[in-house]
């Protein structure tokens, strides 16, 4: 247990260092090396971080799915902790994706929000996983909370492709205010994109480990509290027997 903890602490320090280095290089690559985009100009530079945040959010929700399946199979608390941790981080990164997308849309399309399929799907994703976190708040019993959250985590992930499919078709029915405009990637833009993807992914791994450790500590603390409470009660009873009170 202690060796395990020490190992985890080393991994966390390494990940933290790696994240700092990668983020610094990504910032350099995105703001200095990458050329400004021809039509959108400097605003396009948010793209590198926006795409990376979106990728990380999807990765996080995939981790929720895998951890949920493993929890239902094994009923080991660690998988439940991993699923919660990933869901929380996923919601944060989805928020980052929505906000950075909104800023970019304001500049590129002249509007803070448009019901474009990917934006809409991201919003639904955000709502679904906020519901996941609320579900955890509302279920009282810890075992029940774990199982219900896992069931919802699996159903939610299966739902996401259908949401995207329906939203894309729904958008095609209504006149589009803005149309998708792609841009050709300059080879000098690629380092920025890949460094940023790597930086966000290591940041995710770092946050996940820290959050999972916190969850582990919480569950150990809850256990200790429970034991202390029981011992206290036993001691009280013992004292009552000895003194003949009560």
């Amino acid at each position: 247990m202690t060796a395990n903890r020490a190992g985890a602490r080393t991994t966390i320090s390494v990940l933290a260092g790696l994240t700092v280095v990668l983020f610094a290089s990504a910032v350099v690559a995105a703001f200095i090396i990458a050329p400004p985009e021809m039509e959108m100009g400097d605003v396009q530079r948010i793209f590198y971080f926006h795409v990376s945040a979106a990728w990380t959010a999807f990765l996080a929700f995939f981790v929720v799915l895998v951890a949920s399946i493993l929890y239902l199979r094994t009923r080991l608390i660690k998988w439940d902790i991993l699923a919660t941790s990933a869901a929380e981080i996923g919601v944060v990164f989805t928020t980052v994706t929505l906000l950075s997308g909104s800023v970019w849309a304001r500049s590129a399309w002249g509007t803070w929000w448009t019901w474009e399929p990917r934006m809409t799907t991201t919003l639904m994703l955000w709502l679904i996983y906020v519901a996941y976190l609320l579900l955890r708040e509302m279920a009282e019993d810890p075992d029940r909370r774990g199982v219900f959250a896992a069931v919802f985590g699996i159903a939610a992930f299966a739902d996401v492709p259908i949401v995207f499919m329906s939203v894309r078709w729904w958008r095609s029915l209504h006149p589009a205010v803005v149309t998708e405009e792609g841009f050709n990637m300059d080879p000098l833009m690629l380092p920025a994109l890949f460094l940023s993807l790597a930086a966000f992914t290591t940041l995710f791994a770092y946050l996940l480990l820290v959050r999972a450790q916190l969850g582990q500590s919480e569950s150990v603390l809850a256990e200790l509290r429970q034991r202390l409470y029981l011992e206290d009660e036993a001691a009280d009873e013992y004292r009552e027997v000895l003194t003949g009170t009560g």
Binding site: E140, V147, V151, F152, M165, S166, V167, W169
Partner: protein, 247 residues
């Protein structure tokens, strides 16, 4: 008390347990029969939900002024929102009886197969929601002065209702044991059921406007995809939920 009444219901001659039907169907049927009978006697879920659905339709009429072309264009959206909200009111009742006095244990004792319980409950919720729609669609047609006599409409309604009710049954099983039960179900069900809502609204709109079958294909395929995924997934996931409901 409830266990005893359930045992008599399950053992009553109405249950075709000796008629050679597979026990899966017999169990599911017994559960539907029990729920329908108890609902017909108490009328606790249906009447309240019907009136609530009617209210939502009326309120949408004030909010959006649904008449003529406006009704044909946006009426299907208002109608499906009314159906979804009223149906969710009723879903809170799906497992309400089992919640008290060990009803869930009784149900589990009566059947070795949890997915039979799921499909029994699903069938009951489906009957309830279809009854709701059988009431709200004509009401909408009269209020908005729109014809709903379209051969495509039943397909949209059936596929849409099936998917919504399947996810609704699974989630209401979780909701019934939780705090803030009434809030729990919509929070989980609405974001997940968005594809159903989108496709049912658009499909109904096309059907009401008398569009060709080809225009309905995207709506029907979204609904079918949702139905297939949730019909496959929900009975499996329900086994884990039901374990927690009894503990």
């Amino acid at each position: 008390m409830l266990e005893a009444s359930e045992r008599t219901t399950l053992g009553s001659p109405a249950v075709p347990s000796e008629s050679g039907l597979p026990s899966f169907i017999a169990t599911a049927y017994a559960i539907v029969a029990k729920d329908v009978r108890s609902e017909l006697r108490t009328r606790s879920a249906v009447v309240g939900s019907l009136v609530f659905g009617l209210l939502v339709v009326v309120i949408f009429n004030f909010a959006l002024n649904l008449e003529g072309d406006a009704a044909r264009e946006t009426g299907s959206g208002a109608l499906w929102v009314a159906i979804v909200l009223a149906a969710m009111m009723g879903f809170n009742f799906i497992f309400a009886q089992e919640r008290e006095q060990g009803g869930m244990e009784g149900l589990l004792l009566s059947s070795p197969d949890p997915s039979a319980i799921f499909f029994g409950k699903l069938a009951g919720a489906l009957l309830f929601t279809l009854a709701l729609e059988a009431f709200l669609f004509p009401v909408f047609a009269v209020f908005a002065n729109v014809s709903i006599l379209s051969p495509a409409l039943p397909a949209v309604i059936l596929l849409g209702t099936l998917g919504f009710v399947t996810a609704g049954t699974l989630f209401s099983a979780m909701a019934v044991t939780s705090r803030a039960r009434e809030l729990f179900l919509p929070l989980l069900l609405l974001p997940v059921a968005v594809p159903v809502l989108i496709a049912a609204v658009e499909g109904t709109r096309v059907a009401i406007q008398g569009g060709p079958w080809a225009d309905l294909v995207p709506a029907l395929s979204v609904l079918a995809a949702f139905d297939v995924v949730f019909l496959a997934l929900s009975p499996v996931l329900f086994q884990f939920v039901i374990e927690e409901m009894t503990s």
